[in-house]
Symmetry: C2
Subunit: 449 residues, 2 copies
Amino acid sequence: MAEDSVDIIIDRIRSAYGTNRVEDALAILLELHPADRAEVFNLLTDAEKSALFSLLDVPTTADLLEELEDEEALEAIVSLSPERLADVLDEMEPDEAADLLGDLTLEQATAALAEMEDAEEVIPLLGYPDQTAGGLMTTSFVALRRHTTTEQAIQFLRQVRPEIEIPYYLYVVDREKRLIGVVGFRELVISNPSDTMDSIMDPDVRYISVGTDQEEVARLMTRYDLAAVPVVDDQHRLVGVITHDDILDVIEEEATEDIYRLANVFDTDLDPQSPISEQLKGRLPWVYLNMVTALFASWVITNFEGLIAQVAILAAFQSVVAGLGGNTASQNVAMIVRALALGKIDPKKLWKVTIRQVLVGMLQGIAVGIVIGFGVALWQNNLYLGVILALAMVGNMIVAGIIGTLVPLGLRAIGLDPALASSVLVTAVTDSAGFFIFLSLASLFITYL
Amino acid sequence: MAEDSVDIIIDRIRSAYGTNRVEDALAILLELHPADRAEVFNLLTDAEKSALFSLLDVPTTADLLEELEDEEALEAIVSLSPERLADVLDEMEPDEAADLLGDLTLEQATAALAEMEDAEEVIPLLGYPDQTAGGLMTTSFVALRRHTTTEQAIQFLRQVRPEIEIPYYLYVVDREKRLIGVVGFRELVISNPSDTMDSIMDPDVRYISVGTDQEEVARLMTRYDLAAVPVVDDQHRLVGVITHDDILDVIEEEATEDIYRLANVFDTDLDPQSPISEQLKGRLPWVYLNMVTALFASWVITNFEGLIAQVAILAAFQSVVAGLGGNTASQNVAMIVRALALGKIDPKKLWKVTIRQVLVGMLQGIAVGIVIGFGVALWQNNLYLGVILALAMVGNMIVAGIIGTLVPLGLRAIGLDPALASSVLVTAVTDSAGFFIFLSLASLFITYL
C-alpha cells in the first residue's frame, strides 16, 4: 500500500473515531488486507487502538496479532481476558501462537494454555529455540498414508478445508509418521481418482531436521527453490512444515543483522524511528569499545611524541596510513561475511582465500602507495616523507588483508558470528599498526625529514 | 548438499573421467539435483566441463544453464551450434532463456532466435530491463476464462501438464486478456466439477505492473506472503508471473549490494574467490577515492602544523575525535540504509527522524566525551586537554549525526542508492571535521596546554 493511501485511511478512521462513529472506524479497518491493517493499526494512538481492538472478533484479532511485530502484539493483548486470549490463540497459526506465548510471562502463558482447545498443537512448538527450524515451522499441515487414493485425499481436503494454511504440498508418511514422500496439489489435480499417494508422490523429498539453524533453512530453500519444506525429528517423523514466507523474513533479518553488526549497531530491532533511549542502549556500548581501541592507538602515538615535536608534519599523514588500511580491511570483512552467509566459501580453500585476500591488500597498498608517495613528496617537497608514506601504506595494507580476512574466518571457526569482526575491532588493529609502522619508519629516517 | 559430499562426488567424476569412463562420469552428474549438479559442474576443469557438457541431452542442458550464474552459462554455451542452442533455449523457462539471450551478442541472439520454435514466448521478455518485474517474470503461466468449469480446467491442466512450472495459482482473464481473478490449486481440488472459475476465484488479486522495480516487487511479495504474483501491462492485461524463488534471489542480491557498498566494494559479483584482477577493479577505485578524502583531512591538519610542533601530544588524540565520529556516522548510515531498503521510514517523518538521529549523535558525544575527557585529563595530567577533547567529541558527534542521516536520505531523494553514503564519503566529513574542531579548540586554549 502506498504511503499516501495509508495517510488517507488513517485520516478517515480518525475522523470517524473522533465523531464517535467507532463502528465506522472499525469498518474501514476491516476492509484492509491483514498486512495493511496491521500497519494502519500501528499508526493509531493508544486510545484509538484499544477502542478498536476490543471490537474485533476472534478471527480478526488472530489475523492482526499474526501480522504485528512481537512487541506490538504484546501491547495489544494486555486488555484481553485469559479466556478470550485462549480463543484467539486457538485461531492463530500454531507457530505464531507459540511465538506469542513464548513472549508472555510464564503465569500468563500457563493461564492461556489451560483455556485453549488446541493447546496440544502449540505446546510441542514451545520447546524449540526461535531461530531453529522448530521455531519457524507450523504444525498445521496435511499428512496422508501411502495407500490413500487421490479421491480419498480430495474428500479429506474438502472436510478439513478451513484448517489448511499451506496450499502447496501434501506429505505422505508411514505407520510411524515417518516422512516418505511429497505430493504437489498440481499432481493431485491431474491424477486419476484411483491413483494412490504411493504412485504419484515424489519419494525423493528434501527435508530439514528440527534443530537446524534458520540460516541453513533459508540456504536450502533458496538453493532448491522450495515453496515449503517438511521438518522431521530425530526419528525422521514429520513434525512440521516451513513455508517460503517465513524464509523471506529470516533472510531479511539475517541481512539486517550483518549490516548492523558491520556498522557496530548491535540491536537488530533498532531502526531510525526507535526511541532515543533504545538507540543509545544498542549503540553506545560499541562506541565505548571503539573509544578504548582508539585510546590504544593514541597510546601508540604518544610513544612518538618527541618525533612529532621535531617533525610536526608527520601528524598530518599518520591518519592517511591508518584510514586507508581500515578501508581495505573493511572491504575484506564485508566480502568474507557475505560469502560465509551465502555459503560461498569452500572450507577446504580457506588458506587459498586468505592468501588471495592478503595479496589483494598488498597490491592495493602498492597501487595507492606509489600515487600518494609521489603526490606527497611533491606537495611537501620532501622525497623521504613520500617514500616512508608509500612503504607504510604497503605494510599496513598487508596487515589489513590479514586481519580483515582472518578475524571473520576465525570468529566463524570458533562458532561466533563473523560479522562481529566489525569495523571497530578490525580497524583498531589497522589504526594502531598504521600509526606504528609509519612513525617507526619516520624514526629510522628522521635525519632525512 | 554438504561440502564433503561435493568433494566426494567430484573425486568420483574425476576418477571416472581420468580413466576414460566419460559415460560413468556423466551418470554420476545426472544423479544429482539440478542445483547440486550446477555446483559440481562449476568446480570441474574446463576440459572436464566441455567433455561432459557435450554429452548432456537438451532438457538436461537447459536445466543446467538455468542453474548456472550468467557468466558461467555464457562460457558453457560457446561450443553449441545455433540450432542446438535454439533447442536448448526452447526447453528453458522463457524468463531464463530471455536472460541468456540478453547476454549474447546481437548476432548470436538473432541466429538463435531465428532457429527457435517458441521464440514468440521469449521475444516480448527481451525488451524489459533485468531489474524490473518484466525482467523477472516468466510467461509460462495458466490463464483461464471466467466461465470455464473446474472440470474443464482440470482437463486442460492434464493436457498441458509438461509446460506448467508454476504450481500454485491459475489466473482468470477476460476477453481482452485483462486479469480479473486468481484461483489456487487448492480451491480447484476442493470445488465441485461444475463450479465455474467465476464462482471460485478471488477477484481481489494483487498484481504488479511490468515496469515495477525488483526491490518493490520483493517488498510486496514479502509483505503479503505471496508465493507468486501476476504481472500486468498498462492495459491491465496479464503478461507474466513472478514466483517466490525469483524474489529470494532479489532479496539476497539487494542485501549483498547494500553490505558491499557500505564497505566500499562496488562490484556486487565479487567474492573472496574472485580473481585478484577483478577484485582490484571493483575495490581499488574506492580506495583511491578514500585516498583523496584522506589527503583533504591531512591538509586540514597541515594548517595546524605550528600548533602540533608546540604541543605534539595533540597528534595522539586528534584521531580519537575523528574515529569515534566516523563510528557514529556509520551507525546512522547503516540504520537509514536498512530502514529505506525495508520501507520502514515514513517520508512524512524525515525531519523527525533526522532530528532524532542528530540527538542520538549528540548524546553519544556527551556520554563518550565525559568519560574520555576525564580519562585523558588524568592520564596526561592535563585538565584542559581533557576538556578540549570532550568538547570536540560532542561537536564531531553532532556532525556525524547530521551527515550520517542527511547524506543517505539526500541520495535517496535525488534517486541514487542511499548505500553510496558509504564509510568513505561520510567519514571523509567526520575525519576532516574532527581534526578541525579539535585542533581549532586547541589553538584557542593553547596557553593552557
